[in-house]
Amino acid sequence: MKKTDMIVIGGGVSGMISAIAAAKRGKKVTLLRYGLGAFEIGGGLIDIMAHPQDKKVCSTIKHSMDKIGEEHPYRKLGLPAIEEAVQFFLELSKEENFAYEGSTEKLHWVPTAVGTMKPTGLHTKTFNGQILKDADTIYLVDFKGLKDYYAKLTEKNLRKIFGEDKAYKVVTVDPHMEEAVGGRDIMIMDIARWLDTPEGLAECSKQLKHLVKANAAIVFPQVLGTKPDYTVYETLKAELQCELTETLSIPPSAAGMRLSEMLHNCARKYGVKIIENAKVIDSIVEDDVCEAVVVSGVGKEHTYYGEQFVLATGGFYGSGLDVLGVKKINEPIFDLPINFATNTEKWGNLELFSEEKQPFAMAGIQVDSKMHPLNHKGEQILKNVFVVGRNLSGYDFAFEKSGNGVALASAHQVATAVVGVEQNV
C-alpha cells in the first residue's frame, strides 16, 4: 500500500498546526478528522500561560518556567521551542492577512461578555482591553434581539475595573432580523454573519455613526465577522474614528470560526489532504513502529499507511482519552500508557473553581522532548508516533489558561522533529 509522509489524527488546533507546519516544509500530510475540534468553544485566542501555580500568581510562561512541574509539556519542550512555535504562528497568521499579536513575555488582557478581564497570549487585533484603560468614553454596543449578551451587565462590571471617572454608554443597533421572531434566537454568530455582508456592515456603521462620537472606545460582543480577515474591524474603526474591542462570549464563538477557517485555508494552501468524518479506532503496529491506522468509516473500515503518526485527538473532550472508571483512563488508538502527574490519591477537587489544578485534568500521555510517547519507566514505546495537545499529561489547561499554547508548541515541535528525522535518513 502507498504510504504518506505523515498522518495526523485530529483536526483541532494541535492537529491542524502540526499538519500545516510539516506540509509547509514539504511533507505529504494526510489529516484524519472527526468533528470540527473545539474551535467554536475555544474562542479564537491562543492562551499560552496565565496561572502557572495558583490563582494568586498571574504570570507568563517566560517568567514561570521554573514554577511549573517537571512533567509539564512546556518543561519537555523548553522555552526556545515554545518561542519558535509562537513565532511560527504569528508569521503564519500574517501570511494569511489575519495577523495575530502577542508574545510569551507579556500577558494581554481582553474583556469578557460579563465585563471581567481575562489574560491571554496571542490574539487578533479585535480583542484589546488596553483601549478601555486609555479612553475617556466607553460605548457598549448591544444588538436588538441578541440573546445571551447583556451590555448593561458588561457596563456594570467594567465600571468596577476602569473606574467611574469615565463615561459609559450603552447603544443599540437594530440588525432588522425580523425572521428571528418566532424563529431562532439571534446568536452572536448571526450578527457576525450579518456584518460579513457589505450591506450589514454598511447598515451597522450607519446606525452607529448616529450613536457614538469619535475618539472613544467601543466594546462589541464578539460580532466582528466570521471570516479570517480584518474587514469588519478596519471598516468600523475607520468609519467611527474610535478604538474597538470585542468581548469573549459563549459558544458558538465567531472568533473561533475565524481561527478555524484560517487554519483550514493554510492547510489547503500547503496541500494537506483532509479526510472528514474519519474516526480512527485502531492502529497496526509492528514491534515499535506504527504501520497504519484504521478508520471506522461509514459502512466499512479504511486503513491509512504512513511513515509518521501524530496523535492529536483532544483528550477527554475529543474522545482522545476515554474514562473507563475512577483513575481508569484509556487511549483508544495506540493503547498508550496513561500518566497521572500527581501522586495524590484524589481524582479531583470538589470545587469547580478550585484553587488547585485538578488531578484528572493533569492525566494524559507522558512524552519526551520530541513528543514521543513514553512508558511508565520513561522509555520510548513507538518510534514514529508523536502526541500533541490535550492528550499530554502534566498540565491543567483550564486552570493555567494554557490550552492552545500547549497545542501550538507541541504541534510545532512535532513538525520540526518529523522534518529532522527525514533529513537524518
Binding site: 502507498k2 470540527l36 458558538p252 483532509i274 479526510i275 472528514e276 474516526k279 459502512g299 466499512k300
Partner: protein
C-alpha cells in the same frame, strides 16, 4: 459503526459545532438550527403532536454530522422526526410526486416518446405557471429525462468478459436522466479489468422518500435492495454507485434507520463503494490502470456533502490529479444548496440559491468552463447557479482512457 447507529441524542455535548456548520442555519433565521431541532428536540418529544415547526427547513445535507465530534446522527434524527410527523399528517400532492421520482420516471419512460413529451411539457409548463402551481420552483429547470434509460443502453453495450466483476447500482439520476455517466463508468471499469454487471431488480435507494417523510416506503426499498445486494456480496462481488447520495444511503442511512429491522445491512455495507472510492483503493494498492491519455482542461471540483459525510476524503480529486493535462482545484466552498429535492420545492428555492451563493461565486471567479462533481443534483444546481457546464468526474477518466 455498531456503537453509533442511532438514538444517540444524549451523546450531544451541546458544543455548537453543528450550528456553525449548518448551511440552512446560515441562510435563515427561521430555522432553529441542528442542535435544537435534532438532539434537543429528540429528547423532548413527549407528545405525539410535539413537533418542532422548523423541522421542514432541514435539508438532510449532513454538514451537522460532519461537524459533530460526538457522532450524533443529527440529520437522521430530523428525518425520523419528519417521518413521525407524517404518521399522523397527510402529504401534499407535490411531496407525493417529489418523493417518488422513480415512480414518475418509470411511468414516463414506458410511454412512447414519453421522455420527449415530459421534457417538452416541463418547458411549456414553466411559463404557464403549472410547475409553480404544483408547488415546485419554476425558476429552475426540472431534470430532463433521457430518451433511453441506462438499463436499456447497457444491454447493447459490449464488454470484455472478465473474472473480476463488480455490480453497478445505477440509481435514478443515472438511469433516467444521465445514462451517459453510467456508460462512462462501465468503460472505466473495463479499462481496469472489471466486467460490470447490472442488477435490474434494484429500486430507488430511497433517499428522496426519506427526505419527504415516506419512511415506510423507504424501508420497503431498503429491504428489496438489501436482499439483492446480499446475493451479489455472497458471490464476492462489490457493489458500486456513481451517485454519492445513493452510496451514503446504502452504506450508512439504511443502518441508522432500520437497525435490527432488516438483516445483512451491516455486512453489505462493507462491500458497497462509491466508484471513485473503489478506484482510489485500487490506486493505493498499485492496481489502478494508470495509462491515462492527456486531457488538456482546467476544472473546478465540488465535493458533494454526501460524499464528505462518507469519511473517504475526496477520491475523485485524487484520481483526476493522475490524469496528464488536467488542472483541477477543489472549490472548497461548501454546500451547493440543492440537497436532492429540497431546492426544487417552491418554498425552498431562494434559500437553496442563497446557500449555494458562496460556491457559485467561487466558480464564477475561477472562470473555468467545466465543474466536476459526483452528485447529479449538485450538477443541476451548479449548472443553474453559474451557467457552467457540469460533469461527473468518471466521464473525464473515461475520456482520458480513450486517448
Amino acid at each position: 459503526m455498531s456503537d453509533q447507529k442511532i438514538n444517540l441524542p444524549d451523546c450531544c455535548i451541546a458544543c455548537t459545532a453543528c450550528i456553525t456548520a449548518c448551511p440552512v442555519t446560515a441562510a435563515t433565521q427561521e430555522f432553529r438550527g441542528p442542535k435544537l431541532v435534532g438532539p434537543a428536540q429528540s429528547r423532548l418529544q413527549f407528545a405525539e403532536n410535539d413537533t418542532e415547526a422548523s423541522l421542514d427547513y432541514c435539508s438532510n445535507c449532513k454538514n451537522c454530522e460532519i461537524a459533530c465530534p460526538s457522532g450524533v446522527p443529527i440529520s437522521t434524527l430530523n428525518m425520523l422526526a419528519r417521518a413521525k410527523y407524517y404518521e399522523t399528517h397527510s402529504h401534499s400532492q407535490r411531496d407525493e410526486m417529489m418523493g417518488h421520482p422513480e415512480k414518475l420516471a418509470k411511468l414516463i419512460t414506458k410511454l412512447p416518446f414519453g421522455a420527449f413529451f415530459a421534457n417538452t411539457g416541463m418547458e411549456i409548463g414553466r411559463p404557464m405557471g403549472i410547475i409553480k402551481a404544483m408547488g415546485m420552483a419554476d425558476q429552475r429547470p426540472l431534470p430532463k429525462y433521457a430518451s433511453e434509460t441506462f438499463i436499456s443502453m447497457f444491454k447493447n453495450k459490449k464488454q470484455p468478459a472478465s473474472d473480476k466483476k463488480i455490480v453497478f447500482f445505477p440509481g435514478c439520476v443515472i438511469n433516467y436522466n444521465e445514462p451517459q455517466v453510467g456508460l462512462d463508468f462501465v468503460d472505466v471499469m473495463n479499462k481496469n479489468g472489471y466486467q460490470v454487471l447490472v442488477e435490474e431488480g434494484f429500486v430507488c435507494c430511497g433517499s428522496p422518500l426519506l427526505t419527504t417523510g415516506y419512511l415506510a416506503e423507504a424501508k420497503e426499498n431498503a429491504q428489496k435492495n438489501t436482499s439483492l445486494i446480499k446475493k451479489w456480496v455472497d458471490k464476492g462481488y462489490p457493489v458500486l454507485t456513481v451517485c454519492t447520495s445513493c452510496s451514503l444511503m446504502l452504506k450508512q442511512e439504511y443502518q441508522e434507520l432500520f437497525e435490527d429491522e432488516i438483516p445483512h445491512m451491516e455486512k453489505n455495507a462493507k462491500h458497497i463503494f462509491d466508484a471513485a472510492e473503489f478506484l482510489e483503493f485500487l490506486y493505493q494498492k498499485g492496481e489502478l490502470n494508470e495509462n491515462f491519455g492527456e486531457v488538456n482542461h482546467t476544472f473546478i471540483y465540488h465535493a458533494p456533502c454526501h460524499l464528505r459525510a462518507q469519511g473517504i476524503g475526496l477520491p475523485a480529486l485524487e484520481l483526476l490529479s493522475l490524469v496528464p493535462g488536467v488542472e483541477v482545484t477543489d472549490a472548497g466552498a461548501g454546500c451547493c444548496g440543492i440537497s436532492g429535492n429540497y431546492g426544487y420545492k417552491v418554498e425552498n428555492y431562494d434559500r437553496s440559491m442563497k446557500i449555494g451563493k458562496n460556491l457559485f461565486d467561487t466558480i464564477k471567479a475561477s472562470k473555468v468552463e467545466t465543474v466536476l462533481t459526483d452528485c447529479g443534483t449538485c450538477r443541476a444546481q451548479i449548472a443553474h447557479g453559474t451557467n457552467t457546464e457540469t460533469m461527473h468526474p468518471i466521464s473525464i477518466l473515461a475520456k482520458s482512457y480513450k486517448k
